[in-house]
Amino acid sequence: MLYREAGQFKTSYRADQQIFPILQDRIGMLVLGFVALVGVPLVASEYWLTAILIPLLVFSLAAIGLNILTGYAGQLSLGTAAFMAVGAVATYNFQLRVPGIPILVSFLLGGGTAAAVGAVFGLPSLRIKGFYLAVATLAAQFFIPWLLVKVSWFSNDSASGVITTQPVEILGFTFDTPLRKYLFALVVVSVLALVAKNLVRSHIGRAWMAVRDMDVAAEVIGIRIVRTKLVAFAVSSFYCGIAGALYAFAYLGSVETDGFNLDLSFRILFMIIIGGVGSILGSFLGAAFITLLPILLDVALTEGATALGLQLPSGMTSMVQLVVFGALIIFFLIVEPLGLARLWQIAKEKLRLWPFPH
């Protein structure tokens, strides 16, 4: 009853092309924005900020990056973490070696470096598709972290390949506390999410989807396949690069380049599969699901065991976590291949009619 678009007529194409054409959605987004900007800082504990919200934002951004490439342009990639590593290390080095460079410029240059590397590793996509392309991007996943550890220049000759990030300072204001880091990440991720949405609803986004859905027809229409694919790789890697930089600068503070491994790439791939392939919203939902689920399971198991007076063997919770995790992914692949974003859409369609069935 509440979620009705009846009576909301659009009298111009401009009004019809808004991101949120339905009034209730706009109100919802405003509320969400208010909660994230004002509510969270008022109530969130340090644990919530550092262990949940900041990684949630960082992974959402990485998932958007992968979703642009895999969900929109249809190019399967397993190199996400490698491009994140490039972004993190490049940002660190720009900050380290260019005197007086503003941190945001370093971030952009770091993302740009990742974009360039991504475009290079996207070259195989011009000849191969699907699983074979995934294997080709694996090359990036193995080669890049190896290179970053091997050449110690990248980590400023630190003994173990660890980079310790510089403070994030903008116009004399330092984002040092967890709350400030959270706000920094929130702004960066929100802006980039908006940009991603704009891209996918403009002609480059349509070109990506056209190449994904039917490349011969796309070519006949006059879309340049080569250029479209490489731009997808570059933009996607730019997002992953910025996500990697945030991962280092706002989340962990110091990162081992070895940490950007295949595991992380898979985790982000799961996020978009569960969240929704080809959906910006789905990137956030998937990141939330994958980040929050282990924590929820952990809490549920510990609380449940205490309530029942059981003593769980150590390591049990993490095992159960993995089992449930795997089961859920299989469940999703079978039941709703289009992910949480699709479920959300179905829920909205039902809500329009509720309480009537038709």
Binding site: L199, S202, H203, I204, R206, A210, V220, G222
Partner: protein
């Protein structure tokens, strides 16, 4: 659905001429030494039994296949072989025998994609979706809405094409080709698998496109009634060779064509 061939129709100079086209896939000769021309504003049909090389012929014209021999002359320029991008730039659009829509996208986005070549804004403006990019999107949206009106598919404009019935999908595909405002429209079996009403609708759209926009049309079709009714001239292919060329009546009377279609005692 009869179309009167009034002599005042503005059939003009030769727009497309294929000359001595031969195409082989390994040992299979798909096309052998085919030549024909298409005049401006005309509706030209290509007919022939299955496997005669009709679709291959269209694929040569817009550069999906590269013929081993022959030339393609379009709008005064001669090519050894076309390239799909070049063909699109020069105003050749087409539909496919098996629907080749972008299944995950809405009707509106599919047709908008047909105008992608005309959009000029760079990545940066698209990222911000302000000023020129927004104006460009809206201007093209308006053109696309005209096509949606023309094809009478207003009610499904936001529906993903994968959910639409077959006949409507064929219509959307025509819309996507029209969105490019082509000079030459290649239609590969636009009426295959349709019932009689859907065929009538499609015929009407094709004739309207030809009349209103003056678009030259090359059409592959198996329904002889339709072909004879709407086309100005017909090319007949059989086993990759041209066996007939002329007005519908001439082709109908051609003994080789009759043999190809009805078979002949050996």
């Amino acid at each position: 659905m009869t179309h009167d061939h009034n002599p005042g129709r503005r059939i003009g100079e030769t727009l497309l001429a294929v000359e001595n086209i031969s195409l082989a896939f390994g040992g299979v000769r798909a096309l052998t030494d085919i030549s024909f021309d298409v005049r401006e504003h005309e509706i030209r049909a290509i007919i022939g039994p299955n496997g005669a090389g009709k679709s291959s012929m269209l694929n040569c014209v817009n550069g999906v296949y590269r013929p081993q021999q022959g030339t393609i002359r379009f709008a005064g320029q001669t090519f050894r072989h076309m390239h799909p991008h070049k063909a699109a730039l020069m105003g050749i659009a087409r539909t496919f025998q098996n629907i080749a829509l972008f299944r995950g996208m809405s009707v509106l986005d599919n047709i908008m994609t047909g105008r992608n070549l005309k959009m000029r804004c760079g990545l940066f403006l698209q990222a911000l979706y302000v000023g020129p990019n927004r104006r460009e999107e809206l201007a093209h949206r308006e053109k696309v809405e005209h096509i949606i009106d023309f094809l009478q598919i207003e009610s499904v404009r936001k529906t993903p094409v994968g959910r639409l019935p077959y006949g409507i999908q064929k219509r959307v595909e025509l819309g996507r080709a029209l969105a490019a405002e082509p000079r030459l429209l290649l239609l590969d079996e636009p009426m295959a698998g349709m019932n009689i009403e859907e065929k009538q609708d499609m015929c009407r759209f094709i004739l309207d496109v030809n009349d209103e926009f003056g678009t030259t049309i090359v059409l592959i079709e198996h329904d002889m009634g339709v072909v004879m009714d709407i086309s100005d001239r017909v090319v007949v292919l059989d086993y990759g060779r041209k066996i007939g060329d002329g007005s519908p009546d001439e082709v109908r009377a051609n003994q080789d064509v009759i043999d190809a279609y009805l078979g002949v005692a050996h």
